[in-house]
Symmetry: C2
């Protein structure tokens, strides 16, 4: 009886760990997906301001970046997911889980410039989009410098 | 002289292939990222309609799905990218590059239900969101059944 209880407890513990493990991997994969899809859309906006400008394509790309920036993906930085592999090994630096003030600052800057990009894209003003792309890209770099390990 | 010309030609050809190769890999990685990030947001909506309902979280998730659905990611199905590895080996079936009518049908259904989901989410009506999630999820499945190989 006692053994059965212990066995049941062990099973629950193991099952619990397995669930947590899957959750970390998923969380890492989901955040890598978010950044990966934004990368495509940043590239598209860059190609548009450097080449033939297509207003509708830039609006679509800016809307994606805005929606992802406002998605609340900070929730994907589950405590314990500073190590682990999603699509690839995470490069999140430990500081992203501890430096709340610093993370808040870069996250707010990114949200602000992503929202502004969507507004500027809607005007179809290629020069203004180019300028805003620089500001938006700066907030990506600012976060990467502090919180993302180099390959 | 002739040798130098041939060498230059060879270099250009190799460089050209390398560029194309990178592009295929990126295209596959970008589309996998788009679907991966949508998967997170589908899960969030599911968790909300099955548990405690948070109107704002569902709106954010629905807005992401809508923006990605309308991003024109069909452009990422570059001819030749039916084989290749982004984050992982692509599971796009060859038919996705040839069956334009079939692809158009599933893509339009997905866009329609994603746009509708954003509208329904804005109302905060959990029961309606649950029903719409079923319709939206059905369009994901419809495409996967026809155009995505199983693992």
């Amino acid at each position: 009886m006692k053994f059965k209880f212990l066995l049941a407890l062990l099973t629950i513990t193991v099952a619990g760990s397995a669930t947590a493990q899957v959750k970390f991997e998923d969380a890492i994969k989901f955040r890598q997906s978010g950044y990966g899809f934004m990368a495509w859309n940043m590239q598209r906006i860059k190609a548009n301001v450097e080449g033939a400008y297509n207003k509708e394509e830039v609006i679509k790309a800016a809307n994606v970046i805005q929606a992802i920036a406002n998605s609340g993906m900070g929730a994907l930085y589950v405590p314990g997911s500073d190590k682990g592999t999603g699509w690839e090994a995470t490069r999140a630096k430990p500081a992203i889980f501890t430096d709340k003030e610093g993370v808040g600052k870069v996250a707010m800057a990114f949200n602000r410039e992503a929202n502004e990009m969507a507004k500027v894209a809607a005007t179809g003003d290629a020069a203004a989009v180019k300028e805003q792309l620089g500001k938006l890209g700066g907030t990506c770099k600012g976060c990467h410098d502090d919180f993302k390990a180099k390959k």
